[in-house]
Amino acid sequence: MSLASTASAKDQPSLLARLFARQELALLVCLILVLAFFSATVENFFSVRNMTNVLGQASLALTAGIGCAIVFISGEVDISIGSLLATIALPLIIIMNDTNSLLLGVSGALLFGLIIGVVNGYLVAYAGINSLIVTLGTMFIMRGGVYLYTGQRAIPDDASLDSFIALSDGRLFNIIPYSAVIAIVLLAAFGYMMQHRPFGRQIYAVGGNQEVARLAGYDVRRVKFICFIISALLATVAGIILAARVGSAQHTAGLNFEFQVVAATVLGGVSLAGGIGSLTGMALGVLILQFLSNGLRGLGLPTEWQLVITGMIIIAAVAFDEAKRRRANGG
């Protein structure tokens, strides 16, 4: 006795359709098209120097994007990361100026990031406040707090530790920026966690269907709580790299950064509704936007146009995704 009707052969989509159904593959094709287009039209675009430069620029969004994507997958949002970038530079720079120790500075920054993550996570997961509202609130609070502390002036990095400066311009084997190395290592680690560790799958389950996850014995609140902590800590890492780059703590650091990250994450196929998407997709989304912006600049297009084009691409990508999903569900 058996249950009939698994999908019959004729229901199987073609190979091409199935390849395209893999989000990451479609994104990879887009990235290759972007690279090909600008290699043909912009001089020196397809050079080791330019490629690794762009990778270095992308490392901030790649690092913070991991957290953003994880929070999205859990079914929540975190838009406080841009302000966090600016905020954690304060303890970082101040401690380093006082102690001349990168380790202490970084520890202070991470501790601060941890506190913000705990606050965001507690308010969302345990107090039950909408995550958009919570992180919008902490976004304003932190941005305002930094401004209150620094005023118009920036707090310069007087310690000028070599190890800190290396974060901005050092390169592994003189090729790959350290910041990119950090981003890639983090991506690999968290990517592995999301696909192969029980906790990663719990995040997908919670975002996919909270009630089902609860019935399966998961502590939904704890999972969300931890996701916000991960997000804040990764944004802290991005903030440390940014501070090394600008060499100071200032209130405009990371302004609108959260929206760049959200844009790239959504472009990478991570659904705001939760449960869908991957870190690979997010990373491809970041790279597509970063190379696009680099190439458009190479073509001499002003920044304003880059914004317009980025906006159109994001809407088009999500619309395409939605259409595909609708077709897959036969509706």
């Binding site: 192969h196 996919g208 269907n209 996850a213 502590d219 449960g275």
Partner: protein, 510 residues
């Protein structure tokens, strides 16, 4: 001391002398309601125990307490003699209690195999998930229970009936001592029901205590060893199934005798054609379906799962697209083919899927009722609230809809009362034809007879009622004429007098 369905015979035998689960004096209150009052419920290993009762009787509350979804306010729970404190689903799972809820509890983006192991992933030495074992074990599990589905398929892409089987399979993937099934057959085909029963008997033979919650008397008589009936949150009876008849069981459930489930009050059907469908075809299912429905009659459509009843219902009210054919409502053609025109011409659908296509759960009763006829209450473009409330109140009185007030969120009403509100929605609009799709799905016996009386009354008031049903008694009890479908075609139309179960089934098989 439990049974792992994957590796039977590896654990020590289950001690059949101690109750698998013993609940004593269970009490549970919700604001304003006593959901359970001093209820006892005892499960013996290896026995199939049916839990019955009308909606609101407390069955769901009781199994939710077992599952750790609700905490109890009073009473004790013992597992094999040991008192346990179940505070969360996790605690319940740890005790080996597996509840298969009516609502599908699977992550639709996950593969079937991953869903099977959702409650506990097999972990390799490094702490990572052993995907190979997940695939192999779920394939082995499906093999054992004769369940033919691809473990690598995306769960959301499967039909509901197969998803339900996946859930049942999941209950068997880990060690279980008690398996609870809440209305497991509501979306299964007869074949799947047979398979399910085989699986349930196998579970029992392995010493697992099975709780079977169902409204369907015939199923309970077929599968259960013992029946416990709850009513209004109280324990009414626990008896071996052999001591029950249909009548005594119904009597226990509703506390009174139902002499006739189908009280026919209406007169003979008229001959005026209210709905005429000609050579209707749709892209997905229907092929050349033609029929007429008369004012004042109940035209029953019967068919097995996948015969195309729901598709027909949705097509004739203008909800789903058609590729050819005409639909005339009261002599006027339904064109353009959309629900707006349908409603204007006087045809409406009472959907099979109340939750997603009928109700606006968060909204109050009155807004759910008046949805289709707001235009009628409008003055200068604003809804006249007083008029709206009065109209809804009329229907609440007429249909004896049990609701604390018009402002109660409709999700808090029982299934039967929700259904009455939805019927009001269409009547308020002034319909000529009402299409009802599985009108009593998920509704219990007492409320069912009220829905039947309501349908009878609708026809009595001159509406043409087109009723899609998979329940033979409902069909034979209510319909004036019976149409049978098979794989998208109409295979027979007969009058109630000439219809027999055999004739209908033959036509349904094709």
């Amino acid at each position: 001391m439990s049974v792992d369905f994957l590796h039977p015979g590896e654990g020590p035998a289950i001690d059949t002398n101690v109750s698998a689960l013993e609940m004593r004096g269970i009490g549970k209150r919700f604001p304003g309601v006593v959901a359970l009052d001093n209820v006892d419920f005892t499960l013996e290993p290896g026995k199939i125990h049916a839990l019955m009762g009308e909606n609101g009787a407390g069955k769901s509350t009781l199994i939710k307490i077992m599952a750790g979804v609700y905490g109890k306010d009073a009473g004790t729970v013992r597992m094999r003699g040991r008192e346990v404190d179940i505070k969360s689903p996790r605690d319940s799972l740890k005790e080996g209690i597996k509840v298969v809820f009516q609502e599908i509890a699977l992550i639709s983006e996950f593969t079937v195999a991953e869903n099977i192991f959702l409650e506990g992933y097999p972990i390799g030495r490094t702490g990572s998930i052993d995907w190979k074992k997940i695939r192999a074990d779920s394939a082995a599990l499906f093999n054992r229970i004769g369940f033919n589905v691809d473990p690598a398929a995306r769960t959301g892409s499967l039909p509901v009936s197969q998803q339900q089987m996946v859930e049942i399979a999941r209950a068997l993937a880990h060690e279980a001592r008690v398996v609870v099934m809440d209305e497991p057959t509501s979306s299964l085909t007869p074949n799947e029901v047979a398979l399910l029963f085989t699986v349930i008997r196998r579970l029992a033979s392995l010493g697992i205590a099975v709780v079977y919650v169902s409204h369907k008397l015939d199923e309970v008589f077929e599968i259960a060893d013992t029946v416990t009936v709850l009513r209004d949150g109280r324990h009414i009876s626990t008896k071996p199934i052999g001591e029950h008849t249909n009548d005594t069981l119904i009597q226990d459930m509703i506390g009174r005798r139902i002499d006739n489930l189908f009280p026919r009050q209406r007169g003979a059907a008229g001959s005026k054609v209210a709905l005429s469908v000609e050579k209707l075809s749709t892209a997905k299912k229907l092929i050349d379906v033609s029929f007429e429905a008369h004012a004042g009659e109940v035209l029953g459509f019967f068919g097995l799962m996948g015969a195309g009843r729901t598709e027909l219902a949705k097509a004739i009210v203008g909800y789903d697209p058609i590729i050819s054919g005409t639909i005339m409502v009261d002599g006027r053609r339904l064109a353009p083919h959309d629900t707006r025109t349908g409603v204007r011409l006087g045809i409406g659908l009472l959907t099979e899927d109340r939750k997603s296509e009928g109700l606006m759960g968060e909204l109050p009763v009155y807004q759910n009722a008046s949805l289709a006829s707001l235009g009628g209450f409008a003055r200068l473009g604003f809804v006249d609230k007083a008029k709206e409330h009065q109209a809804v109140q009329d229907y609440v009185d007429r249909f004896r809809i049990k609701t604390p007030s018009l402002f109660q969120q409709i999700k808090n009403l029982s299934g039967g009362n929700q259904q009455k509100v939805l019927i009001s929605r269409w009547l308020m609009r002034g319909l000529k034809v009402i299409v009802v799709d599985e009108p009593t799905r998920g509704i219990d016996v007492g409320a069912k007879s009220e829905i039947f009386a309501l349908i009878d009354r609708l026809a009595g008031e001159g509406l043409a009622v087109v009723m899609m049903t998979s329940e033979m008694p409902e069909l034979l009890g209510l319909a004036d004429r019976i149409a049978v479908m098979c794989e998208g075609r109409l295979t027979a139309v007969m009058s109630r007098e000439e219809a027999t179960q055999e004739k209908i089934l033959n036509a349904a098989i094709g």
